[in-house]
């Protein structure tokens, strides 16, 4: 069984890329295990590693931060959280050097009050929202407004690769887009020990 990695490319800078550990959302207790068994050399040329975190609360997010710190990653670990988790963060989070939060699955239903939270440093737009924006002007307007807000706040933006990079002017302009093709031909072998809960969450490689 292998860990799957997806590459995120920066359209503005061909030399800049990030990675995503492709899996079901990880529970807090699985974060450190996942990072330990991911050969970090695989992602050394990236600027971030995106890891989906299962829905939790402020205490869970803090515990996930601690786990990341304990592993000592060589690149920034961005924990992708849902809007419900963000809503449960009721305290000022620690501000560690090498881990942060990404708001996941952002779409037209996502409240702006979530996007402007200090706690997050990037947003990932949902595939269905971006697809809808390519077909409906009103959804397109909402998407562009959200991207503008994110830039005003200094947030990074991630989204699926889509049409428009052909010069038609319709590309939304994400900071990072998922590289086309199936993730992960770069996976690392993970141990099958029963104590490694992460294994069951990773897709077969």
């Amino acid at each position: 069984m292998k860990a799957l990695l997806r590459r995120w490319s920066s359209p503005a800078s061909v030399d800049t890329a990030g990675f995503e550990l492709v899996s079901d959302p990880l529970r807090v207790g699985e974060i450190a295990t996942a990072l330990r068994f991911l050969h970090q050399g695989r992602v050394a040329d990236g600027v971030f590693l995106l890891v989906r975190l299962a829905s939790t609360d402020a205490r869970g997010v803090c515990a996930a931060f601690d786990q990341v710190q304990h592993v000592g990653p060589i690149i920034r670990i961005c924990l992708a959280i849902d809007v419900a988790t963000l809503g449960r963060i009721d305290r000022r989070l620690p501000n560690p050097r090498n881990v942060g939060l990404v708001l996941d699955d952002v779409d037209a239903e996502t409240p702006l009050s979530a996007i402007i939270r200090d706690d997050i440093e990037a947003i990932r737009l949902s595939r269905s929202f971006v697809d809808e924006a390519s077909e409906r002007l009103r959804a397109d307007a909402a998407l562009r407004a959200m991207l503008g807000l994110a830039r005003d706040l200094g947030l990074g933006t991630l989204g699926p690769a889509c049409g428009g990079e052909d010069g038609s002017g319709r590309a939304p302009g994400f900071d990072y887009v998922a590289t086309a093709g199936s993730p992960s031909e770069v996976g690392d072998e993970l141990p099958r020990s029963p104590r490694v809960g992460i294994v069951s969450n990773l897709r077969a490689g």
């Binding site: 600027v47 503008g148 200094g154 900071d175």
Partner: protein, 175 residues
């Protein structure tokens, strides 16, 4: 934004860079150039009014954010850091030079217009204006105007603004 300018490398200036936390990409900058060792750059183009004579001045240059929107949080964070440094170093006035289109941004930061239009040797066709603010009055001006920047600038301890005061005082000296 990613390319160093010649003045960035001067030992007597401070260059503030706003980096996006997510990927450390530079998304904004401001350079603080003092008059401690020589006249400001703008003084080779025009004579400043008398009230600036024998005062500790800085010229704010290389001011820009990634998407050029003056109202961004990025710009506010850069301005906050610059004013904190100027306050700590006992700077009397911060001076900036910009085209008319920059005026809105400087006025939003409570700068006064002190001269303009001025034609600069390096840009003969586009007129520029000079803006200045007494550093000691900055907070008071924001508060007096009920400015929406006040809370952010003067009442928020922002953990993401990291100022290395050893470096600041090493460059500007503790004044």
């Amino acid at each position: 934004m990613r390319t160093a300018e010649k003045e960035d490398l001067r030992s007597d200036v401070l260059l503030l860079i706003a980096e996006r936390k997510f990927d450390r990409r530079p998304i904004g900058s401001i350079r603080i150039e003092p008059n401690f060792t020589g006249p400001l750059r703008i003084e080779s183009e025009t004579t400043l009014p008398d009230r600036f004579r024998n005062r500790q001045l800085v010229e704010l240059t290389r001011l820009g954010v990634d998407n050029g929107n003056a109202g961004t949080l990025v710009m506010a964070a850069l301005a906050k850091a610059a004013f904190e440094i100027c306050s700590a170093c006992g700077i009397d006035y911060a001076i900036a030079v910009g085209r008319r289109s920059m005026g809105e941004m400087f006025r939003s930061l409570c700068f006064d217009v002190i001269e303009g239009p001025v034609h600069l040797s390096y840009s003969k066709t586009v007129p520029f204006w000079l803006y200045a603010i007494p550093v000691a009055e900055w907070e008071q001006r924001l508060r007096g105007k009920g400015h929406f920047y006040f809370e952010f600038m003067a009442r928020t301890d922002h953990p993401d603004i990291a100022i290395d005061y050893d470096h600041v005082f090493g460059t500007f000296g503790a004044r």
